[in-house]
Structures are given as structure tokens and as C-alpha cells.
């Protein structure tokens, strides 16, 4: 009989749904620490067995690289690199900053290094290590200077635009700014040709509102991926000439300059962890999807 057949079919589909649900609920009951261990181990495996997925270049990264190389940078131009990141974000920001430093040095630009984090000196030391060959050809005080730590939010960035010496009367090592050869004639925003801000916070935004907006200073963001979401519309609007989005941006820049480094090495680990996360989202939502489809039947 048709109705009896329908009753049997509905019992079967109910049993099937129940077994699926119990499997899913078993999965849901797994201690979260198991997931943490899976993630921690999964992050380490690609370092021991590299995979090497190919990387394509995003247009924002290409624009950034084009903006710091070739015709866009003249010899003797003065640029600021803002270490707006601490040690915890080295893996995210430092590879991109390394490439930008190398690129600017090779174009003959002079660089002022500053930073609003307490460990800015550590970051500067690490940069000297990752750009060892380029720093070896440059002279401190003539080709680059490390002015050191600053803080004060938007006020200090605005004041830097007015008078650099009022924020940095001396460099990090105590040398009065007037005694530093490359700072001769470099007094305010009009003497700076470009700013690269690498941020975990919003100093890039402060440079945008206090430097790029009123004075049209060339500005690019070389920061964390989280800032990428807010900074990509700014790049599209022309406020930034380029944006590097986190470690992925760093890997793309390494590819562009032809010197693969830490970001490229980390990409395999990133791939594994992201794949695991997407799988976790899909598996976690299987129950919801099954319920909705079961309801429609």
C-alpha cells in the first residue's frame, strides 16, 4: 500500500538522520584541546616537510612594489618606515618590511626608521639581520637613521608632519638630530618623499589623515592582514599607493624582488591551517545543513 510504503520510507530516513546526528554530536563532544593539539602539530609539519604551493601576485601588492622601485623612486629621496608592529607580529609584517627596505635601498633612497612599540629596537635589529647585505653598503646617519620610539596617537603623527625634531630631538642612540647628516634639511612633511607604515594598530590611518590627506604624501600600508580589509578600499580610493596584506603580501613581495624568505616558508603552514579551519567550519555546519534539508523534505 502506498501509505505503508511511505511510513517505512519516513522511518528509514529518520533512522538515517538520527545516525548522522549521533555521529555529528559525537564529533561535537570531542574535547577542544584535541583541536588545539591538531592545529599546533599541523602548523609545524610543513616546516619539516615543505610543500611549496605557487603564489600569485595580487594587484595591491604589485602596485606597492611598483611604487617603491624603478621610476617611482629617485636617488636621494627620503622615506619613513614606521615599525608599527611588535615582536608578536614579526611573522606577519617583517617579511614585507624587509623587502620594502631592500627595494628602497637599492633605488638609493634614504630611510628614517621609527616605531610606536616598546620593542622597536628589537625590530630594527632584526631588520639589520634580514637586510644584512643591503645595510653593509649603507652608512648610518648618511643613508639611514633610527630615530626610535614614539607614541602619542594621531597627535604625534600630526606633530611629526609639522616638525620632526620636536618629536625626535635626538635619534635612538642619543645623537642630536642636528648632528645627523641625512637629517640636514629634513624638517617636516614637505621634506619626506614617502611613508611606509607597517601596523598592527592604526598608525597607517593616522599617517593617512595627517600626512596623505592634507599634504598628498605618498603612503602605503605594509601591515597585518586584519588591516587589509580596511586598507584595500583606501588603496582603491587612492589614499594608499599600495597595500601588502599580512604574510601573504610578504610572500608576494618576496616573489617580486626574487628573494624568497620567511613569508614564503610560512605559506605552507598557513595553507594547512586555513584548510583545517575551512574543513572545521564545513563539518561544524553539516548538522545545520542536514537539519534544513531534512526540514524541506
Amino acid at each position: 500500500m502506498a501509505s505503508g510504503h511511505y511510513w517505512v520510507k519516513s522511518v528509514d530516513s529518520t533512522r538515517e538522520a538520527a545516525s548522522k546526528m549521533s555521529a555529528l554530536s559525537k564529533l561535537a563532544d570531542i574535547d577542544r584541546r584535541v583541536f588545539y593539539w591538531i592545529l599546533f602539530i599541523a602548523l609545524m609539519v610543513p616546516f619539516l616537510n615543505p610543500i611549496g604551493f605557487p603564489i600569485t601576485i595580487a594587484p595591491n601588492t604589485q602596485d606597492l612594489y611598483d611604487g617603491i622601485t624603478g621610476d617611482q623612486v629617485d636617488e636621494g629621496e627620503v622615506w619613513i618606515i614606521n615599525f608599527g608592529y611588535g615582536v608578536s607580529a614579526w611573522s606577519e609584517c617583517h617579511p614585507a618590511v624587509t623587502v620594502c627596505t631592500k627595494a628602497l635601498f637599492r633605488e638609493g633612497a634614504k630611510i628614517i626608521f621609527i616605531g610606536p612599540h616598546y620593542d622597536v629596537e628589537l625590530t630594527y635589529n632584526k631588520l639589520q639581520d634580514t637586510c644584512r647585505e643591503d645595510f653593509a653598503t649603507k652608512e648610518y646617519g648618511v643613508d639611514y637613521v633610527f630615530l626610535g620610539y614614539f607614541t602619542g596617537g594621531e597627535s604625534v603623527v600630526a606633530q611629526l608632519a609639522s616638525d620632526i625634531a620636536s618629536v625626535f630631538p635626538q635619534d635612538h642612540f642619543g645623537t642630536p638630530i642636528g648632528d645627523i647628516p641625512m637629517m640636514d634639511g629634513v624638517e617636516d612633511v614637505h621634506d619626506i618623499d614617502g611613508v611606509l607604515s607597517s601596523d598592527t594598530g592604526d598608525y597607517g590611518g593616522h599617517f593617512m589623515t595627517q600626512w596623505q590627506g592634507p599634504y598628498g604624501t605618498k603612503l602605503a600600508e605594509v601591515g597585518i592582514a586584519m588591516n587589509g580589509s580596511t586598507d584595500l578600499p583606501r588603496w582603491q580610493a587612492g589614499n594608499f599607493f599600495g597595500v601588502s596584506v599580512g604574510s601573504r603580501g610578504g610572500a608576494e613581495l618576496e616573489l617580486l624582488i626574487g628573494e624568497l624568505g620567511e613569508a614564503t616558508t610560512a605559506m605552507d603552514s598557513i595553507s594547512v591551517s586555513h584548510l583545517l579551519l575551512v574543513l572545521a567550519i564545513i563539518i561544524g555546519n553539516l548538522g545545520t545543513i542536514t537539519e534544513k534539508l531534512g526540514g524541506k523534505e
Binding site: Y36, F53, S88, G152, S271, L277
Partner: protein, 216 residues
């Protein structure tokens, strides 16, 4: 009189400083020395005020140690390390002008502060992973759109996405360069309008939440 000093004069300072910053920008081509002075003062005050949080923490942990409160041993450890770091740092600063020139300070900075700082912030990565499995549910169209956009951007950011299927990168790029723009640009525009409105309210003395004691 005391009410004027405690309230009206304070709001007047806020209003005057705000107006001076705006006047400098909209009425003068070059930066003005009086505005530069105010900004320098603001930066110095900002630097000094960062010690306030440190002072509060030191007071609370010292009280915990003296009264042998909860976890007082850890507070003692905190204060001990603080004292060593402070004394060695000041010794380095006074003798050479740079605090990291002191060997002990430098060692603790490199091998205690740095690894701890570098380790504490990424801990949220673990929680994102467990949340992805347990909490991120596409219960309605809003959540589903959010998760779909998130997954495609993740697979675009990770090179493996493109290796599995080129479409992940193509669609992920669309979400990154077009899909998210209305939302993110809205936050920027609405944030800017809110800042302007809020700033004018502070200028007129209507916003009093910043001041200790609120509107008293």
C-alpha cells in the same frame, strides 16, 4: 567657583583646543607655532599618562602581596621582576642614555618580555579554530553570507586554495576587492561622520564621559 573650575573651565579647554586645531587647518596655509606647541604638549601628556595604568597595577598587586590576597605569590613574582627590570633599565639609561645598554635589562627584554609577548597574542588563534567548529553556524542568511565570504577569503589568502581550484582564488579576490568594500567603506564613512558629530558635541561641552567623575 569650584564648580566652574571642575566643569565649565574643563569643557572650555576642550572646546578651545579643538577650535584651535580646526582654525590652523582651515585658515592657515602653513602650520602655526601655537598649534605645534599644543600638539607637543598633548604628546608629552600622553607619554606621562601611560604611567597611570602602570601605577594602578602596581598599587593593586602591592596590596595583594601585603594582605596576602588571592595569588599573592604571583603578584610577588610580578613585583620582583618589575623591580629588577626597572632598576637595571634606569641604570642603563642614566649611565649611557639608552636603557638596553644594561646587560641584565637587555637579556630580560630579549628572552622574557619578547617570547612572552610573542606567545600571548597568538593564543587567540587556538580559540578561532575551536570556535570555527563549535560556534560558527550558518543559521540564517546573514551568518551564511558571512561564513561563505570568510571561507573564500581564507582560501584565497592560503596558496593551497588556488592549488585545489582556481575558482577559490577568483571568487576570494572578488570578495576581497569588491565584496567587502561596501561594508568596510560604510564603517569608514559612518565612523568619520560619528567622529565629527561627537567632536562637535565635545567642543560644545555636551560630552562629559571622558572626565574623571563623569558629568559631576
Amino acid at each position: 567657583m569650584s564648580n566652574v573650575l571642575k566643569q565649565e573651565a574643563v569643557y572650555a579647554v576642550t572646546g578651545i583646543v579643538t577650535i584651535l586645531m580646526l582654525v590652523e587647518y582651515f585658515f592657515f596655509a602653513d602650520t602655526q607655532i601655537w598649534a605645534e606647541t599644543i600638539r607637543t604638549w598633548a604628546v608629552i601628556i600622553y607619554n606621562i599618562s601611560l604611567g597611570l595604568g602602570a601605577a594602578r597595577l602596581l598599587i593593586s598587586h602591592s596590596a595583594r602581596v601585603s594582605k596576602k590576597g588571592r595569588d599573592w605569590q604571583f603578584s610577588g613574582l610580578l613585583l620582583g621582576l618589575f623591580a629588577i627590570m626597572l632598576l637595571t633599565g634606569f641604570a642603563g639609561y642614566i649611565m649611557t642614555g639608552v636603557q638596553t645598554n644594561n646587560g641584565i635589562y637587555n637579556w630580560m627584554f630579549n628572552y622574557i618580555y619578547t617570547p612572552l609577548g610573542a606567545t600571548l597574542y597568538p593564543i587567540t588563534g587556538f580559540y578561532i579554530f575551536s570556535a570555527a567548529y563549535r560556534a560558527f553556524r550558518a543559521r540564517n542568511i546573514d551568518a551564511a553570507l558571512m561564513l561563505i565570504a570568510g571561507c573564500f577569503v581564507m582560501l584565497k589568502n592560503a596558496p593551497v586554495g588556488e592549488a585545489i581550484w582556481i575558482g577559490f582564488a577568483t571568487i576570494g579576490n572578488w570578495f576581497q576587492f569588491t565584496g567587502q568594500v561596501p561594508g568596510m567603506r560604510t564603517f569608514a564613512i559612518v565612523g568619520a561622520l560619528g567622529l565629527i558629530a561627537y567632536g562637535f558635541r565635545a567642543l560644545l561641552g555636551k560630552e562629559r564621559g571622558f572626565y574623571a567623575g563623569g558629568g559631576e
